[in-house]
Amino acid sequence: MSEIVLSDVCKHYGEIAAVQSTSLTIGEGELVTFLGPSGCGKTTTLRMIGGFVDVTSGRILVGGRDVTRLPPARRNMGFVFQNYALFPHMTVAGNVAFGLEMRKIGKADIARRVTEALARVRLGHLADRLPKQLSGGQQQRVALARALVIEPTVLLLDEPLSNLDAKLRHEMKTEIRQLQKSLALTTIFVTHDQDEALSVSDRLVVMSAGRVEQIGTPREVFERPASAFVADFMGFSNLVPVRLDGQGRGHLRSGMAFAIDGARSATGEGLLALRAEHIALSRAPMAGSSNSAAATVESLTYRGSFVDYTVRLDDETRLQVRGEAQAPFAPGARAFVAWAPQAGTLVEARPA
């Protein structure tokens, strides 16, 4: 049993609430990512679970056991730090053996388990090196082996990939996910990178300003953001203010109306979240498209395999549109935008 339950967990630093009352459950064997910009409380929450930050109020349970006030040494959690935090004066093997020595395990047993752990991250040949003689990716794998060798009840990863270059990051991401799955280890992964979050997680917890904004599968969060913040963070580059008429249609300032799937009978003000790549740009009006409007190209940025445009509708609404790199529109050109009713998703207007 290694389910993690946070119940009304808060962290205040004086007047400042770093983490506001947060409740969530991370199922056994699940990999959940805390995602958000820096300062959103994701690392503080992770460190509270790890025992490095005192909880102001609320409880943390792991496998039904209340660990809220336990020191880190008695939580049996594997923690991987952003900077790896290897012991610089110990060899790779010494680093991995440390947690086992703390558990008063016999020498022969330690040696066998260290060998196994290093083999699992393919570092057996570097057992006698010092951390400073290793590359970043190798140090990361030592940190992982050191956290896993103690057979922790849960694995906590604090931005484990942020110090690696792009190619290594991809490799390590895959490797961490495979290890986690093969060990069926309850895992929390903290990152600010939505790409990383989407590709490794069973579920995401999107956080902002010390609050949970949305909890859901990568697909749910990516396609149906629950708030303007999440939409923005997940790459919806258009958040268009609309007035809903209760008949599944949204109206722009000019009164221009278009269909929104999922709007149904909603009324009042809302924001239509649209991805730049879901808006088509063409030289002639598109036949049979319900949501289409004339626009003027304001500017464009060449991005290699595509071009990012800023276009202005006739009522001054600006949209970000992604187009093909072939035969791009020139600034000032007239064009038509169109999107499918199901492409957009409604989120609540941001509180003023």
Partner: protein, 268 residues
């Protein structure tokens, strides 16, 4: 290589400063071998007599021994006191931390003669109040030298501890190590170069102290520095150069040996 005028000036200045540091030491070593009866140039010949003469004088032999003993005590005691203090200063937040830091570093900036006089007066007052004799006693001298040495330990060890990434302590804790284990198995080994360097500097700071010792050595006792000053009052021959050379050799040897075991430039 074509050096521009500013670069040339810079190099000349650098060499001049180096020369100013090294030349007096070289000269005193050189002079210690002159056979001239009084300190003078040029050398009339060379001899090792001054070393024999220095060794034959009890005040230099006993002074050297007392200085070495005192410095060794000061060095070890300032580690024993300074390391835990530095750990608290570097790792814990508590009210008055800056005040404590400044008090611990103060002996470094208070002129030695002032500190020496203050300790002497304090010892006398203690003696009057309690009849415990500190002024002129060996424990009194040791305590004063601990004060000379401690700021070095505090400064070096605190600086080194601040540089130690907190997350390695946390990593050790998450692996099951309690605070004491973290301190002895992780923190101390990681700051070893700073420990060795601070032991060395504390030793040297005590060894070269004159002012505090002047006030506090008891009758019939002398440190090497006091012996040198007393000798210079009545004599001007190369004995003093020989004693100085031995001192330079001792400190240089300490530096070299220490540097073999801990790269000192890493300790700062």
């Amino acid at each position: 290589m074509n050096a521009t005028a500013p670069v040339l000036l810079y190099r000349i200045a650098a060499v001049a400063v180096l020369g100013f540091i090294v030349l007096p030491l070289a000269v005193i070593v050189w002079v210690s071998f002159f056979s001239n009866r009084i300190l003078s140039f040029p050398p009339e010949g060379y001899t090792l007599d001054w070393y024999a003469r220095a060794w034959s004088r009890a005040e230099f032999r006993e002074g050297l021994l007392l200085s070495l003993q005192t410095a060794l005590f000061a060095s070890l005691a300032s580690l024993a006191i300074g390391v835990p203090a530095s750990y608290a200063l570097a790792r814990c937040k508590f009210p008055g931390r800056d005040v404590v830091t400044n008090i611990l570093l103060a002996p470094m900036v208070v002129p030695g003669i002032v500190g020496g006089a203050a300790m002497y007066i304090f010892y006398i007052d203690v003696e009057i109040a309690t009849e415990v004799q500190l002024a002129g006693s060996l424990p009194g001298l040791y305590a004063a030298h601990l004060l000379v040495a401690l700021p070095w330990t505090i400064r070096l060890v605190t600086a080194s501890l601040i540089g130690v990434d907190r997350s390695i302590s946390e990593a050790a804790a998450s692996l099951g190590a309690g605070p004491v284990t973290v301190f002895f198995r992780i923190i101390l080994p990681v700051i070893k170069p700073a420990l060795i360097a601070s032991a060395l500097f504390a030793f040297v700071a005590s060894f070269i102290d004159l002012e505090k010792s002047l006030f506090l050595v008891g009758p019939g006792r002398t440190t090497l520095q006091i012996a040198i000053v007393s000798y210079l009052e009545w004599n001007l021959d190369s004995t003093i150069a020989a004693v100085a050379t031995v001192q330079i050799a001792i400190i240089a040897a300490l530096l070299l040996i220490t540097n073999r075991y801990a790269q000192l430039n890493r300790a700062f």
